[in-house]
């Protein structure tokens, strides 16, 4: 199995406050990698550095390298817009475009790429919504507003929207934290299926979730990468005492 993303000595700041310190890790292709750690440890910041969203915050700074298929996304001639088309993102709070229909939400990214062919769009809508396991629930009402769906459906719509541009990597920031257990279970199932074709990086607060869905787990604490390994190892015999304490719920 090859490495899709290589993070090398990545550090990140908000103003003068350093929130990531010298992170180095390699993320394998077509597996689910979970990032866990207590609140405020830098999980969100880390994945936002992977698709160059971090730099959108005023006064935010990044150093280090992030190689996508061996090529530094922070390289001089790299356009962040192209990076973001290869690395999709799903946010903590579902954020469909309320003024667009379900159909238009799904292909919003595709339309940015200039695709206007109706037949092609129709195909992508069906394919993406099927992949997000939403198709059967919405196929008869694709014209309805994206905001008219339930929270869990909205989140799956956001996943479909991310899938529609056929990214290679999908970053998910606590994608189920705003959802009820049934909806969350559906998303978890979906993540497992997605891993067959995509490299998935998921941030989660929920240890059971990390154990259930991920193949590899990284434990982050105060901006540092404490331990990283196969999910089985991390949960069954962690090397670091800190990891063990966190996993057994002694803090966090």
């Amino acid at each position: 199995m090859r490495y899709k993303i290589e993070i090398q000595s990545l550090s990140a700041w908000f103003g003068s406050k350093q929130v990531l310190q010298d992170i180095t890790m390699r993320i394998k292709e077509n597996v689910v990698t979970a990032i866990i750690g207590p609140s405020g440890c830098g999980k969100t910041t880390l994945i936002r550095c992977l698709n160059r969203m971090h730099e959108l915050t005023p006064r935010a700074k990044v150093t280090g390298r992030v190689l996508l298929d061996g090529e530094d996304i922070y390289g001089e001639n790299v356009d962040p817009v192209t990076v973001r088309r290869r690395i999709g993102m799903v946010f903590q709070k579902p954020n469909p475009f309320p003024m667009m229909s379900i159909y238009d939400n799904t292909v919003a990214g595709l339309k940015l790429n200039g695709v206007t062919d109706k037949k092609r769009l129709d195909e992508v809508v069906e394919k993406s919504l099927r992949a997000a396991h939403l198709w059967d629930e919405v196929k008869s009402e694709l014209g309805k507003s994206g905001a008219s769906l339930s929270g869990g459906q909205q989140q799956r719509l956001c996943i479909a929207r991310a899938l529609a541009i056929e990214p290679e990597v999908i970053l998910m920031d606590e994608p189920t934290s705003a959802l009820d257990p049934t909806a969350a279970a559906k998303i978890e199932q979906l993540i497992r299926i997605l891993a067959e074709n995509y490299t998935v990086v998921i941030v989660t607060h929920n240890m059971q979730q990390a154990a259930r869905v991920s193949d590899f787990t990284a434990f982050l604490y105060l901006g540092k990468l404490v331990e990283y390994g196969s999910t089985k190892d991390i949960f069954e015999n962690p090397k670091s005492e800190l990891t063990e304490k966190y996993i057994t719920g002694e803090f966090g």
């Binding site: 698709n51 969203m53 959108l56 005023p58 817009v81 192209t82 973001r84 088309r85 999709g88 993102m89 946010f91 709070k93 954020n95 469909p96 475009f97 309320p98 003024m99 667009m100 919003a108 990214g109 940015l112 790429n113 905001a147 929270g151 956001c158 929207r161 991310a162 541009i165």
Partner: protein
């Protein structure tokens, strides 16, 4: 006094205090309510007085006043009664307002987007400050500026160019006049910019950041992000535009000074014209006799009033509904 009596005493004092406070409170509320009701009374009185003043004209010309095209307070043949019809005024009002929107809205939206999406914060404050200052300039000053600076410039530079390139269209044919419908529309465009841009900026600023992040994460450029912001704020922007329209329809002083004040069913924008507002301002002093003259002006005012109220009320409604919708969306 026993301990018990003391505390009883104390309690009753609190109670009476409360009662007093309560009654003061209700007096205050009643007063405020009464003052607020004055607004309805004043509005009602204005409508009543204008309608009363316009009554003679309404009786004389009936509904035909709306599409009549003559305005003859003193017909050349003294045996003919004066006749009035407001269509050229309504036409003038509509066309100048349309020009104002056509030119003013894109500029305003540009300013609003620049402020909310593109400009750095410090720059933002400076531009907002000047835009709002623009709103504070008295309308007569716009008129003066229009007469002494805008008109000479337009007449000598822009209009000949315009005629040379677009002269095949009927709106740009004929003799070029500086004091014209087009100049009136341009002045109005400048005057609605502060209103439309300030409200649109607030609408855009209220668009949740999660919407911007959503589209950026899909690989949007800054311009594509701006389009999402505009789409999200669409109904608020429509409200802002309608508020600008309300301002354009009712604007009086500045446009009276530059439109040329001619009762004229114009086809070319280079011709002089008049609006409902400008004719009232321009002719009120001379309209002492015949009585139907002043009544006709009153009726023009009444139409203007109805138009302005309708536009402003629907603008407010649209803005109110859109902000409510955004708030609801945020609560999800």
């Amino acid at each position: 006094m026993s301990q018990h009596e003391k505390s009883q005493n104390f309690l009753s004092k609190i109670k009476s205090n409360r009662k007093k406070r309560f009654s003061e409170d209700s007096v205050f509320r009643a007063t405020v309510l009464l003052i607020a009701c004055n607004i309805f009374i004043i509005l009602g009185l204005i409508i009543f007085k204008i309608t009363q003043g316009a009554w003679l004209s309404i009786q004389t010309y009936g509904i035909k006043f709306l599409w009549g095209t003559t305005w003859q307070p003193f017909p050349p043949d003294p045996t003919v009664p004066p006749s009035f019809g407001a269509l050229p005024l309504i036409w003038g009002t509509l066309i100048t307002s349309a020009i104002a929107l056509l030119l003013g809205v894109p500029i305003s939206l540009g300013i609003a987007l620049a402020l909310s999406e593109f400009a750095p914060k410090s720059f933002n404050y400076i531009i907002s400050f000047f835009v709002e200052l623009l709103a504070a300039i008295p309308s007569v000053i716009y008129g003066l500026w229009g007469i002494f600076i805008l008109i000479p410039f337009l007449q000598n530079n822009l209009y000949p160019q315009l005629q040379a390139t677009l002269g095949f269209l009927p709106f740009f044919q004929g003799t070029i006049r500086g004091s014209s419908v087009l100049t009136g529309g341009i002045i109005l465009a400048i005057m609605i910019i502060p209103t439309v841009s300030a409200i649109s900026r607030d609408v855009f600023a209220a668009v949740p950041n999660s919407q911007r992040e959503a589209i950026i994460a899909l690989g949007a450029t800054r311009w594509e992000k701006a389009r999402i912001v505009m789409g999200y704020g669409r109904s608020g922007v429509i409200g802002a535009i309608m508020l600008g329209l309300g301002r354009a329809v009712g604007e009086t002083m500045a446009i009276t000074m530059v439109i040329g004040n001619s009762f004229n069913m114009f086809t070319s924008l280079f011709e002089p014209g008049a609006t409902l507002a400008s004719i009232v301002a321009n002719e009120f002093t001379e309209a002492s006799s015949p009585p139907v003259y002043i009544s006709a002006l009153m009726e023009a005012g009444l139409i203007l009033f109805a138009l302005a109220i309708a536009v402003n009320a629907s603008a407010r409604l649209v803005i109110w509904r859109s902000t409510r919708k955004i708030k609801e969306a945020e609560m999800l």
